[in-house]
């Protein structure tokens, strides 16, 4: 079988070409997933580019992205396949007058023609290269997770009426999770694990520069520094990368070329989404002259 990537560095450069800045861990795991033919479970805070990673990988591979958005109550008829009952009924009705036997009809109505493929089956059946993205897998119930196990370990789907359908090629599979609950051991065991955290300052700056080409280097630098500073506070929700980008765009629109305290505080509501966080951050940004350090635990 041909491998998709030569080295981890190759992954990294090709991702960079589509404006996705990876780090060593990301590139390494994507590379391994390709080599080992295993799915990747991507975990991390919201807005750090988990879904984007799958999209970017699809883009560099020239593959079709098949996305399964998970939600509570997802079942196999939405995730795997479903029989087209209406069409089957019509077929039976149409046969009523002719004298074909029930066996004929039965084999007929349980054939590919009456099968509605859902994302997972579609990924298995695909002839062209595909990337399968199972988004927010932590939203389904533990029991539903079991649906995924067969496809994740053997890349096959069993349909009682048709038998087992094996994949024609092993697709790249990404699962994302916001970690709202512990995923089952069985699922974790089948995947490579990748935790994407907030990027460090250097990488964040680069991301800002790549995504917003008009921005000046010094402003991007300042933005990244301030965001790092804010993330050190104990907040309900730290600013994510996408919020950093929004903020940088806002500053650009306002014609700011060097962020002052006043600018920062006025536009904080773009970075932070809770009133208590905003109050805390603006107090920290203008308040004390470093006597009390952020992040240092209060001794009680």
């Amino acid at each position: 079988m041909d491998y998709r990537f030569e080295t981890p560095a190759d992954v990294s450069t090709r991702l960079r070409d589509v404006d996705y800045l990876s780090d060593e861990a990301i590139a390494g795991v994507v590379f391994l997933a390709d080599r080992l033919g295993k799915p990747i479970l991507v975990e991390g805070p919201a807005g750090t580019g988990k879904t984007q990673l799958a999209k970017s990988v699809a883009e560099i591979l020239g593959a079709r992205l098949i996305r399964l958005q998970c939600y509570e109550g997802l079942d196999e008829s939405k995730a795997l396949y479903e029989w087209n009952y209406k069409k089957q009924l019509l077929r039976i009705q149409a046969e009523r007058n002719s004298d074909s036997s029930w066996e004929d009809i039965e084999t007929d109505i349980f054939s590919d023609e009456f099968l509605l493929t859902r994302p997972l089956l579609e990924a298995i059946l695909a002839e062209d290269p595909v990337v399968l993205l199972i988004d927010e897998v932590d939203r389904v119930e533990v029991e539903t997770e079991a649906l995924l196990l067969e496809i994740l370990s053997d890349y096959q789907v069993s349909i009682p009426e048709l038998g087992t359908i094996a994949a024609r090629q092993i697709p790249m599979v990404f699962l994302t999770s916001n970690n709202t609950r512990e995923l089952s051991e069985a699922l974790k065991r089948r995947c490579l694990f990748l935790h994407i955290d907030y990027p460090d300052m250097e990488r964040e700056k680069e991301i800002v520069l790549t995504k917003i080409p008009e921005i000046t280097e010094s402003l991007a630098d300042q933005v990244a520094r301030i965001v790092r500073s804010i993330r050190q506070l104990e907040l309900k929700k730290s600013p994510s990368v996408s919020e950093t980008l929004d903020w940088a765009r806002t500053l650009l629109l306002l014609g700011v070329d060097s962020v002052t305290e006043a600018d920062a505080i006025e536009t904080l509501n773009i970075l932070l989404k809770y009133q208590s966080d905003i109050t805390k951050a603006s107090k920290e940004l203008q308040g004390d002259s470093g006597a009390k350090r952020p992040g240092v635990p209060r001794t009680s």
Binding site: L32, E141, E182, K188, H195, E234, L285, S300
Partner: protein
Amino acid sequence: MLELLSGFIVELRAAGLPVSLTENLDAMEAITHIPIENRSAFKYALAATLVKNNSHWRAFETVFEVYFSLRGSEYSLGGGGDDLPEITEDDEAPMNPDAGGAGAGGAGEAMSPEQMAEMLFQAMRNGDDGLMRALARQAVTRFAGMEPGRPVGGTYYLYRTLRNLDLDGVLERLMEEAQEQSSSPLTQLEERLERDEFESRIDRMKKEIEAEIRRRLVADRGVEAMAKTLRKPLPEDVDFMHANREELVSLRKAMYPLTRKLAVRLARKRRHGRKGPLDFRATVRQSLSYGGVPADPRFRYPRPSKPEIFVVADISGSVAAFARFTLQLVYAISGQFSRVRSFVFIDGIDEVTRFFEGVEDISVAIHRVNTEADVVWVDGHSDYGHAFEVFWEKYGREISPKTTVLILGDARNNYHASQSWVIKEMSKKARHVYWLNPEPKAYWDTGDSIVSDYGAHTDGVFECRNLRQLEKFVDILE
């Protein structure tokens, strides 16, 4: 190689990481695919296959450093410069023009402390990684005073080295210089950003020193012994009562995702738990599409009543940390209860619900509880008996069959009267009374602990020493 790796995995398991056989095999396969001379790729390959939970990352990293750092060059895994400090040092020191004479003699032991401090300052100012590494090595040689075979932990050496380097002083100097260099005085914001930058550099320096000490200790004592001394409990296993400062910080970090998880789980349980009674009207209506046959019975949406929670917490010194975490947890999921009221006591008791009302940040409220609540009656030593008596007198009649009472404490009563009749009366009125004890089970009823006296009247006494146990308890809370 294989041997080293299996030793590594045994150590990971010993550190508490659940590594299954399949994962082990995956790891073996994974490393055949990566270029073996690339140390960080090697590390990520192992991490991706062996570590499936982000909070285990730190434990993994420590074990990895121990197993694969010094041996790096020997097994040609360590392409990184960190295994060859001699070369780095010679390369880097002269390259730094500011270091002047100090740089020339950099490799030697002759460097005076002042010169060393100067070099340190330069390295910090320029964020020069190579120089930092070289300095870390120098500093450890010079200040840590490490002797072979001495049974002292790494922290001791770390402390000695850091004390001599005076990194705080360096930080101040860096800040002063930054002030001087800028044309106009720095604004608050600029100053803050500068400081953040320097602090992150100093953090890097500390990490270098730590790594250096660890490398030497491994060389001295051997891998397994070292891994054993460095073994630390995972965040969810950290004991509340004996957590050190650093562990408390990591606990607090683990706390937030945990509360979110629990809230989601409880909400789900409520929605899916039981089916309500038959909804006749909806069933008949649905039957129309089946020609009047009630093929698809409909049920009324279940609306289980939400319990009211009373938290009664001992906040005397020994168990304060535990009370703090439990209160935080209960309030974080308070949306799942119709009402939460909290009381804290030492030998007097006070209601602290008011501190939590309308506060978004729970940690602020808890801070106020610790500083403002009126909990001392006589001498500030735990007196469960008196506290319970007063509680019963003042608030007892507000306990209803919808109330669940949580009592937090180690029941170390300093030999006062137990007044356990209060608990008995309480459990007659309340829906449930639970007792959470942060002490290990083996210590219960030893010395002045009288947990069984009280426990006999409750619906259950639970050992609750770490986040894992606390999480488990919340599941039965309904």
